[in-house]
């Protein structure tokens, strides 16, 4: 039961929220499901690693790899799946709390929240950059290996 409330329910919420966002970005058909699964997967990784900036990095990595693979399979641009699945991780809360502390005149907490928000955004960015670069390098190699294996077999 604890497992359900700690992991399963949040992931389902992220999944449903991402599907709701596909309506906003005009995604149709199987793309909806892919974006939703990406969102759920990303949030699961984020929770498992422990809701830190490092967790954000790993979640972005997982989301990017997942959406790159799905995009290659469907021969579609990867942008749509990736940006929807990343949305739950974008530090909206950080922006809000930083603003509140700033208004209350609590400079110390304002600065620490601001840095935390920037760190989270940077972690997402680095995750996306790393996964995309890796995929760009590795994918042509994979294709070549597969083609070579296919030629040998028949």
């Amino acid at each position: 039961m604890e497992l359900f409330f700690q992991y399963l329910l949040p992931c389902l919420c992220a999944f449903a929220g991402c599907i709701a966002f596909t309506l906003v970005f005009n995604i149709h058909g199987p793309g909806k499901l892919i974006a939703g699964c990406g969102g759920g997967l990303g949030w699961l990784v984020y929770l498992l690693v422990g809701r830190t900036i490092l967790a954000g990095f790993f979640a972005a990595l997982a989301i990017s790899l997942f959406s790159e693979i799905m995009a290659r399979i469907r021969r579609c641009p990867v942008t749509g799946y990736q940006l929807v699945a990343l949305l739950p991780l974008v530090p909206g809360g950080g922006i809000y709390y930083a603003m509140r502390y700033c208004l209350e005149g609590d400079t110390e907490r304002f600065l620490s929240t601001l840095l935390d928000t920037l760190g989270m955004a940077a972690a997402l960015a680095v995750g996306v950059i790393l996964a995309s670069s890796l995929f760009r390098t590795a994918f042509p190699l994979l294709l070549r290996v597969r083609d070579a294996a296919g030629r040998r077999q028949p």
Binding site: A14, F21, L83, L87, C102, L124, V128
Partner: protein, 253 residues
């Protein structure tokens, strides 16, 4: 081969791609492939988020160039996928230019779109589902649903009053979101102002700009990446300012 017509075709397709939210490298590569498929000589393409420049060598050796300013960016994944598929098809089959032109012109009109009511449903449902992620309960999610409905209406139908300035639009929507969350929590529907507000603000966060910026930077388009990063920072500032105004007004009321 009529190089003027080819140039117009390539620029139209590139513009459609950019306006539907494609990365810059995809715009440049698609236009370049299209020009090469039609045998355009000396094809050169340069794009940044607000401008597309395409250059060709005409049959008589004259260089011809066309520049087009790219207007407001939306995110329309279905149109993006359709453009991408059409570009692949044109490169593979190379139909006559007039036919290709008709196909490109027909694209924006024939693309599937969700009805406004469905989009509004998306705007309402997303904050409601995101609320529990930030520690909200059922009643918080319900208040976020109402706020999302109002903010979604502002985003969908507010073009007339808010103009096309995305900074101002974000500021106003964020103000409405925080004020409404405060009022709903005071009325006793929601439990926690912070959670409800954050849930609704997720509709406005610069996730799209951030992701696109990163994808551009990876592809080596530093200019586009930087300009989109600046856009993301600007949107984030707009959210913070708007929420501050909303909270201030709410505390006075």
């Amino acid at each position: 081969m009529d190089s003027d017509k080819l140039l117009n075709l390539a620029v139209s397709l590139g513009c459609l791609l950019a306006e539907s939210g494609a990365e810059i490298s995809r715009v440049e590569e698609s236009v370049y492939r299209l020009l090469n498929a039609y045998g355009g000589e000396g094809a050169q393409v340069f794009a940044i988020p607000s401008c597309l420049i395409v250059s060709l060598t005409a049959e008589d050796g004259r260089p011809v160039t066309r520049m087009r300013r790219i207007g407001a960016h939306g995110t329309d994944i279905e149109l993006l996928e359709a453009c991408n598929a059409l570009c692949r098809r044109l490169c593979r089959t190379v139909p006559p230019l007039a036919e290709a032109r008709a196909l490109v012109d027909r694209l924006p009109g024939s693309c599937r779109r969700h009805r406004p009511a469905t989009v509004l449903l998306g705007y309402a449902a997303a904050p409601a589902f995101f609320c529990p992620l930030f520690g909200g309960g059922f009643w918080d999610a319900l208040s976020a649903l109402f706020c999302g409905l109002v903010v979604g209406t502002c985003l969908l139908f507010g073009d007339k009053w808010l103009g096309r300035n995305s900074f101002l639009r974000t500021l106003v929507c964020s103000g409405v979101a925080s004020l409404l969350s405060l009022l709903l929590v005071r009325a006793g529907l929601g439990r926690n102002v912070d959670v409800v507000t954050i849930g609704v603000l997720m509709l406005l966060v610069p996730g799209v700009a951030l992701t696109n910026a990163m994808r551009d930077l990876v592809a080596g388009d530093t200019y586009s990446g930087l300009s989109r990063t600046a856009e993301a920072i600007l949107i984030a500032t707009g959210i913070a300012l708007g929420a501050a105004v909303g909270l201030g007004v709410g505390q006075i009321l």
